[in-house]
């Protein structure tokens, strides 16, 4: 059996000697499969591409746990988790489209290159029809681009940058996680009611694309409630010691410090801001405050005591009391002995959503799945009623505003949900300036 995967467009342009020689066999046969990695056997392979080394390795490990759980549930093992609460009832626990779900894993190292190499391995060698995972926006955007070219679906993991479904959006890519704009939109009213509308904010921002989009989003939404932005200072990624950026805050006249940091940077800058006594200061007659717009419970653990009383936003938290969340926390907790992180949640949900879409579409063809996901409305997955918007493949759902808990009951109980901001409040137009500049393009089935 010989089959060739050659791009038709390439052939049209061909004609020069080097080209024709190697491309010649393509004239003999046409592709046998309709799309990249069409599963022909009794199982279907999903690719879980998570950071296993580097700063986000723990988050990656949690994502992997969630994926394994999702695969079990899809294959009818375990208690079914969110399958029982999911509004769509297509999935029966007998795999997807009658095929058993198999998976392969890889290490993104939180580097675009490594992540793409790992995803390519899963696509080229292991025959994965879908790639999912990741813990940073740079990687998500890089892998999303790859999946678009290769003709497989990308279900983004933890990626918060506006660009993922903004200027870098792709037809084959889908994001369930919320984004920086939503963080700003959700946080602003809470900040206003807690800290008032006459505040001067000082931004410390990780000096790369995600940091910038968050800074832009938060500054815009806090300025909308009357806050003044005193300074926006960029800090090198992985600066470690942030003292030299923190001391100027003391004398800047600002009374709120906004930390547009994630991961270790956030752990360190927050710890050090507290160490420098910012929270004990009175400025302009008001108590000085610190805000961490994007929280992660795993990272909050790293900052320890210092998160107490600090506002931020998060995609999901295990203490939510809706049926979906409870079901997920139950199966995850019983399997692993501790509650899932928001990264685990979004990855789990993305897997189920993909499987459900395939089931509904009756195919694993990326274009069929994309069609099934676009405009799909669902519930029972932890964030209330959710819409996968067709225009940019972004989920619109409730966003949680959280606060570092004053009296945690356990090492996992660090954040308390202050407000569940309804989806309408964080929804924006697809052509919002912060998301402009890219085009979704057409879905690519590859092959």
């Amino acid at each position: 059996m010989i089959n060739f995967r050659l791009d038709r467009r390439g052939l049209l342009k061909g004609g020069l000697a080097a080209g024709t020689m190697l491309a010649a066999p393509t004239i003999l046969t046409r592709s046998a499969s309709a799309y990249t990695n069409e599963p022909t056997g009794s199982n279907v392979v999903l690719g879980f591409n998570v950071p296993q080394s580097g700063a986000y390795a723990d988050e990656g490990a949690d994502e992997l746990r969630a994926y394994q759980l999702a695969v079990q549930h899809l294959n009818g093992e375990g208690d079914g988790g969110m399958l029982n609460t999911f509004s769509s009832k297509e999935l029966q626990g007998n795999g997807v489209l009658g095929k058993k779900v198999d998976y392969v894993t890889g290490d993104t190292q939180t580097k675009s290159d490594a992540a793409r190499a790992s995803a390519k391995r899963m696509i080229e060698r292991d025959g994965a029809v879908m790639i999912t995972g990741g813990s940073s926006s740079g990687v998500a955007i890089a892998v999303q681009g790859l999946c678009q070219e290769a003709g497989v679906i990308f279900m983004a993991g933890l990626t918060h940058s506006n660009d993922t479904t903004g200027k870098d959006k792709k037809a084959n890519g889908f994001r369930h996680f919320f984004n920086a704009y939503m963080s700003g939109a959700a946080l602003a009213p809470v900040l206003k009611s807690n800290y008032g509308s006459d505040r001067k904010a000082y931004h410390l921002t990780a000096d790369y694309t995600w940091g910038w989009t968050q800074e832009e989003s938060i500054a815009a939404s806090t300025e909308a409630i009357g806050w003044e932005t005193v300074a926006k200072v960029r800090t090198p990624l992985g600066a470690g010691d942030f003292s030299q950026y923190i001391t100027p805050v003391l004398n800047s006249g600002a009374d709120v410090l906004i930390l547009n940091h994630y991961g270790r940077d956030m752990v360190n800058s927050l710890t050090q801001a507290v160490q420098f006594g910012l929270l004990d200061k009175m400025v302009n007659g008001k108590k000085f405050e610190v805000v961490v717009p994007l929280y992660s419970r795993l990272m909050a653990q790293g900052a320890g005591e210092n998160v107490k009383g600090i506002f931020g936003s998060t995609n999901w938290h295990w203490s939510l009391q809706d049926e979906g969340s409870k079901a997920f926390v139950k199966s995850f907790g019983q399997a692993y002995g501790f509650p899932p992180s928001q990264a685990a949640h979004t990855c789990y949900v993305q897997t189920l959503l993909y499987a459900d879409a395939a089931q509904r579409a009756g195919t694993f063809n990326p274009c069929g799945i994309a069609e099934a996901l676009e405009g799909f409305e669902f519930d029972g997955m932890g964030n209330g009623k959710t819409l996968y918007r067709a225009e940019d493949h972004q989920c619109f759902k409730n966003v949680l505003v959280v606060k570092g808990k004053d009296n945690p009951e356990s090492q996992f109980d660090l954040l308390e949900v202050v407000d569940e901001v309804p989806a309408e409040q964080v929804t924006y137009a697809p052509d919002h300036p912060m998301f402009a500049g890219g085009e979704l393009g057409a879905c690519n089935p590859g092959a």
């Binding site: 580097g54 390795a57 960029r234 003292s243 030299q244 420098f276 907790g333």
Partner: protein, 360 residues
């Protein structure tokens, strides 16, 4: 997309003069510099005596930091009882945890936990000494005469192994290590040196760190200066072969030297843990920087390592100021390397180095 320029606001706070801002940045720099200096000190000591380029030195700093994590974990080992009434969110009985230390020793136990970071010094010294000696005897010793490239490769391999072991044990996330309650507050440093009160206040722990570093560095210098052992080591740094010819068993002393270097790096790590929550990758983050420090200071020069550490720390602080970044965007990203290039071109042997060391 062009990054927005930093909008700058001058210090208009009452009493916040340029002098205070300056002083604060100097303090920031000294603090950072203390860590650099302590790592670089050991690195240059090892290089000067053993002629070994030790890429695992950052990992030793990281191990030190994890000494405090380990002690803290040990002290906060918890007695776990399953609650009969309460359940977790996932339906298993809630675990009720009480630290053994508190359960057995009451207030004293709590005090020990509170002071666990400084107390880890007591563990770190013997532990790091042991690590250093085992490393030297088991591995480094066989690489004295091997090319630097091979020394780099083998120590780099060791560094990876050490950090992966730590990662397998403690996970990849940073683990917070709070400073003792009594030292978490701010201190009025300005008032202490006779300035107006309230302008130069600085976290107490960071001042402690600086003093601690000064004490450790001072102790190392005193040790090398005033003991016979130190004399031999210094002579060995100057001319290894001659000292060997004198019939002095230099190898034994070099083993101990390596141990001392490991202890210094470890102590730097222990006390730094409240400033930077330890994570397994900490060593690699400091490795490149400390090499730059060593070279800028002059390979094999102990005072050079200290001076360069402090200098680079302070320059890094100043380069991060908004006023400076407004003129040179991104200067804080590259300042260390820029300084290294300039110094190496203008003064190849480094600030205080001897001529000809490690040239080719």
């Amino acid at each position: 997309m062009i990054p927005e320029t930093v909008s700058v606001r001058d210090g208009t706070q009452p009493g916040a003069g340029a002098m205070d801002v300056f002083l604060l940045q100097v303090l920031n720099g000294l603090d950072k510099g203390s860590a650099y200096a302590m790592i670089a000190l050991g690195l240059t000591l090892i290089f000067g005596t053993l002629g070994v380029v030790n890429f695992a030195h950052g990992a030793l700093f990281m191990l030190g930091a994890f000494c405090s994590v380990a002690l803290n974990k040990l002290l906060t080992l918890e007695k776990i009882a399953l609650s009969e009434t309460e359940m977790t969110a996932w339906g298993t009985p809630l675990e009720i945890r009480t630290p053994y230390a508190e359960a057995w020793f009451g207030d004293f136990g709590a005090w020990v936990i509170d002071w666990s970071v400084p107390l880890s010094i007591l563990i770190a010294i013997p532990f790091m000494l042991l690590v250093g000696i085992v490393m030297e005897r088991g591995l480094i010793r066989h690489f004295y005469k091997r090319p630097h490239a091979e020394q780099i490769l083998v120590t780099f391999g060791l560094a990876i192994v050490l950090q992966e072991i730590i990662k397998a044990w403690f996970g990849a996330n940073p683990i917070p290590q709070p400073a003792p309650e009594a030292l978490t507050g701010m201190m009025d440093f300005g008032a202490a040196i006779g300035m107006d009160a309230g302008n130069v206040v600085y976290p107490a722990w960071r001042l402690v760190y600086f003093l601690f570093a000064a004490a450790v560095i001072g102790a190392v210098f005193a040790f090398l200066q005033f003991t016979t052992f130190g004399m031999v080591v210094r002579a060995g740094m100057a001319d290894r072969e001659t000292v060997g010819l004198l019939g002095i068993n230099i190898d034994k002393r070099f083993t101990l030297t390596f141990g001392i270097a490991a202890v210094v790096a470890g102590l730097a790590g222990v006390m730094y843990s409240p400033i930077l929550s330890p994570n397994y990758h900490l060593g690699m983050d400091f490795l490149v920087l400390s090499f730059v420090v060593v070279v800028v200071g002059g390979m094999g020069s102990l005072p050079g390592a200290v001076a360069a550490g402090m200098l680079l720390g302070i320059l890094q602080s100043f380069a991060s100021m908004n006023e400076v970044k407004a003129i040179f965007p991104g200067i804080d990203q590259i300042i260390i390397y820029l300084v290294a290039v300039v110094i190496l071109l203008a003064r190849p042997r480094g600030l205080l180095g001897r001529k000809g060391v490690m040239e080719s």
